[in-house]
C-alpha cells in the first residue's frame, strides 16, 4: 500500500507526482519569512509594543480606513463588474483592461496620479477647494488611495463570478415579471455571493496593506493618515523590535479576516 490518503472518495487524477515538490517549495517560500519574523519578536515586551499609543492609533486608523474603502469598492465596484460582465458595446475590452491598471501600477505611481487629481493644484482639487473640501493629506485621502488600489480586486473577482453564473437565471427572473433591480437584488447578487464576499475580503486585505499610494498622496500624520504599514515603516528606522511586533499584528489581523470569511463560505 503506497501513498495512503487521509480523505477518501475523490482521487487527484492527472496530477503529476513531481508537482508536489515545487508546490511544497512554494508553500515554504510563503511561510518561512513569517516564521522568521515571529522568531525575532521580543515576546516579553510584545504587549507593550503593540499597545503603545502610536500603535493603537495606527491600528484603529487602518481598520477604519480599510472598512471605509471596502464599502467604497462595493458601491463602485459592483456596478462596474455588472457592466463589464453583462454589457456588450464597442470599447468594453479596452475598459476592462483599464480597470486593471491599478493592479499592475506601482502604488507610488498611483499616489502621484491621485495627487495630481485630488491634490490642491490637481485636476479636481481646485474645484473641491472652492467647495471647501481639502482632500490631500487627510483621512479621506487614505481611503481614496486604498480604494484606488483595491478596486480591481473586487471588480475582477465579481466579474468572474458573474460570468460563471451566466445570465440565464436572470432571463427566467425577468420573464416572471421581475424588474431589473429586483432581479439584481433577488437573483444575481445571491447567486454570486461567494464571489462578492471573496472580492470584498481581497479588497479589505489589499487596503489594509496599502503603503505606497498612501504615503505619497496622504502623507504620514499620526492618527490622521498614518496607517499601520506606515507606522511599521517609520518604527523600523528607530525601533526595529516595535516594527516586528506590529508586523506580526498585521499578519494576525489579515489571517483572522480571511479565516472568518472562509468559514462562512465553506470550501471553495
Amino acid at each position: 500500500m503506497r501513498a495512503p490518503t487521509r480523505s477518501t472518495g475523490e482521487a487527484a487524477v492527472g496530477l503529476p507526482r513531481w508537482a508536489f515538490v515545487p508546490a511544497a517549495v512554494g508553500g515554504l517560500f510563503v511561510l518561512l519569512p513569517l516564521v522568521a519574523m515571529a522568531t525575532r519578536v521580543d515576546w516579553s515586551s510584545y504587549w507593550g509594543l503593540i499597545t503603545s499609543e502610536s500603535a493603537r492609533a495606527a491600528l484603529l486608523l487602518s481598520l477604519q480606513t480599510s472598512a471605509a474603502s471596502t464599502v467604497a469598492c462595493l458601491v463602485l465596484g459592483v456596478p462596474m463588474a455588472l457592466v463589464l460582465a453583462r454589457c456588450r458595446f464597442p470599447g468594453i475590452d479596452l475598459l476592462r483592461s483599464l480597470v486593471m491598471v491599478p493592479l499592475v501600477l506601482p502604488p507610488v505611481v498611483g499616489g502621484i496620479a491621485l495627487l495630481y487629481t485630488f491634490g490642491r493644484r490637481g485636476l479636481l482639487g481646485e474645484t473641491l477647494e472652492v467647495a471647501g473640501l481639502q482632500v490631500a493629506f487627510s483621512t479621506t485621502a487614505v481611503v481614496l488611495a486604498q480604494t484606488f488600489v483595491a478596486l480591481p480586486f473586487l471588480v475582477t473577482s465579481l466579474e468572474g463570478a458573474l460570468r460563471t453564473a451566466g445570465a440565464r437565471y436572470e432571463m427566467v427572473a425577468a420573464s416572471l415579471g421581475a424588474r431589473p433591480t429586483t432581479v439584481l437584488r433577488r437573483v444575481t447578487l445571491p447567486l454570486v455571493w461567494p464571489g462578492l464576499l471573496s472580492g470584498a475580503v481581497l479588497s479589505f486585505a489589499r487596503a489594509l496593506g496599502e503603503f505606497g499610494a498612501t504615503i505619497t498622496f496622504a502623507g504620514s500624520l499620526q492618527g490622521v493618515t498614518r496607517t499601520l504599514p506606515l507606522e511599521i515603516y517609520l518604527q523600523r528606522e528607530t525601533d526595529p523590535d516595535a516594527a516586528v511586533a506590529l508586523s506580526l499584528l498585521l499578519v494576525v489581523v489579515a489571517v483572522l479576516v480571511i479565516a472568518a470569511t472562509r468559514r462562512e463560505r465553506g470550501p471553495l
Binding site: 440565464r168 437565471y169 425577468a174 420573464s175 415579471g177
Partner: protein
C-alpha cells in the same frame, strides 16, 4: 388573435410569421437550428428582430423596420413566461419561494404569493416538497416546479422551449400529462422535435425548417397528412380510437388497450385515443400468453427501410424493428403476426 408574430433576422436567414389564438397551444416542430428557439427569443425579448413586429393581446411588444427598433417592451413587462429545457430553479430559494417569485416580483404580498405558490404546487402534485431546496429534487420534479413557477406568474403567454428534452425518458410521460392538463385554456407556444408533444399538447402545429414555416395547420391534420419532409419523418405514430371503459380504451374492433392516463382521470364512456410509437411495438409470430402487454392481431402490408430500422406496416399499426429481427421473423407482406406493446409505452387521452 392573441399573439401575432412576423419577424425577420436576415443574418440568421430567419423569416417567420405566426399567430396563436386565445387559450390555444401552438407547437413549433422542426430540426435543430431551424429557428424554433429564435422565434421564442424574439417573443420573450432576448432577441431583437431586424424587421417585423410581435403583438400580444393587442399590445405591441416589439416593432422594428430596417434594423431599427421602433417599439420595445422589456422582457419583465411582457407577461410572457419562459420555460426552458433545464428547470433553472433559483438555487438559493426554496421550492415555495421559487414558485412565489413571479407574484412577489409583480408586487403581491408575501402571504398572497405563498398561497398562490402552494396552489400551483398542488396542481403539479408537489405540494409536499414546498420547503425543500431545489438541489434535493429529481430532474422531473424540478421541471414540474419550473412549470408551476411559470404559471404562478399568470403569464398571458407561456413559452416552452423543449421542456422535456433534458429529462430522463421514463419521467417525460408524467410531465407531458401534467402539461396537457395545465395548458388547457393557457395561450402557449411549445418547441419540440418530439411528435408526441405536438400531438398531446398542441392544438396546432407549425413546422419550421431553415428559418421558414413550411407547414401549418391543426395537429391531427399535419401529422396524419404531412406535406413537409420533416413532418413526414416524425409522424407515423400509432393511434387507436375508442371509448374509455374504466381501465382501458375499448377500440372499435373490440380490443381493450391499457396505458398511461391523465392524472385527473377519464370519465367512463368518454371517446378516448391511445397513442404509441412504432418503436414501442414488438412483433411476434405467435400470440404471447401471460404477459401484461397489449396485443393485436395484424397482417403485414409492407416493409420499408427507415434509418437503421425497418418499418413494418400492417393493416392497422406500424412497428419499427431492427433489420435482424425482421429477418429472423421472415416478415413478408401478407404474413400474419401478433403486435405487442407495453402499457407503459401507451399514452391515453380524451379525444
Amino acid at each position: 388573435m392573441t399573439l401575432t408574430f412576423a419577424a425577420t433576422l436576415p443574418a440568421r436567414g430567419f423569416d417567420v410569421e405566426l399567430d396563436v389564438a386565445e387559450g390555444r397551444t401552438l407547437a413549433l416542430l422542426g430540426p435543430n437550428g431551424a429557428g424554433k428557439s429564435t422565434t421564442l427569443g424574439l417573443v420573450a425579448g432576448t432577441l431583437r428582430p431586424h424587421d417585423g413586429h410581435v403583438t400580444l393581446d393587442g399590445r405591441t411588444l416589439v416593432r422594428a423596420d430596417g434594423g431599427r427598433t421602433r417599439t420595445w417592451v422589456p422582457p419583465h413587462d411582457r407577461h410572457v413566461a419562459l420555460l426552458a429545457q433545464e428547470p433553472l430553479l433559483f438555487p438559493h430559494l426554496s421550492v415555495r419561494q421559487n414558485v412565489a417569485f413571479g407574484p412577489r416580483s409583480q408586487g403581491a404580498r408575501r402571504r398572497t404569493a405563498d398561497a398562490a405558490a402552494d396552489r400551483r404546487l398542488e396542481q403539479v402534485g408537489l405540494a409536499h416538497l414546498a420547503d425543500r431546496a431545489p438541489s434535493t429534487l429529481s430532474g422531473g420534479q424540478a421541471q414540474r416546479v419550473a412549470v408551476a413557477r411559470a404559471l404562478a406568474a399568470e403569464p398571458r403567454l407561456l413559452l416552452l422551449d423543449e421542456p422535456m428534452a433534458a429529462l430522463d425518458v421514463d419521467v417525460t410521460p408524467e410531465l407531458r400529462q401534467t402539461l396537457r392538463h395545465l395548458l388547457e385554456g393557457q395561450t402557449a407556444v411549445i418547441t419540440t422535435h418530439d411528435v408526441l408533444d405536438a400531438l398531446l399538447l398542441a392544438d396546432e402545429v407549425a413546422v419550421v425548417e431553415d428559418g421558414r414555416v413550411v407547414e401549418r395547420g391543426p395537429t391531427a391534420q399535419v401529422l396524419s397528412r404531412p406535406r413537409s419532409t420533416f413532418a413526414a419523418t416524425i409522424a407515423g405514430l400509432n393511434l387507436l380510437a375508442g371509448t374509455w371503459t374504466g381501465d382501458g380504451v375499448l377500440t372499435t374492433t373490440g380490443e381493450v388497450v391499457r396505458g398511461r392516463t391523465p392524472p385527473d382521470g377519464i370519465a367512463t364512456g368518454t371517446p378516448t385515443t391511445a397513442v404509441f410509437r412504432p418503436a414501442a411495438v414488438a412483433v411476434y409470430l405467435d400470440e404471447q400468453h401471460g404477459s401484461p402487454r397489449n396485443a393485436f392481431r395484424a397482417t403485414v402490408r409492407s416493409l420499408e427501410p427507415r434509418g437503421d430500422l425497418v418499418r413494418v406496416r400492417t393493416d392497422r399499426l406500424a412497428a419499427d424493428l431492427t433489420p435482424q429481427s425482421a429477418a429472423e421473423l421472415s416478415l413478408v407482406p401478407g404474413a400474419q403476426v401478433w403486435l405487442s406493446v407495453k402499457a407503459a409505452e401507451v399514452d391515453v387521452y380524451p379525444a
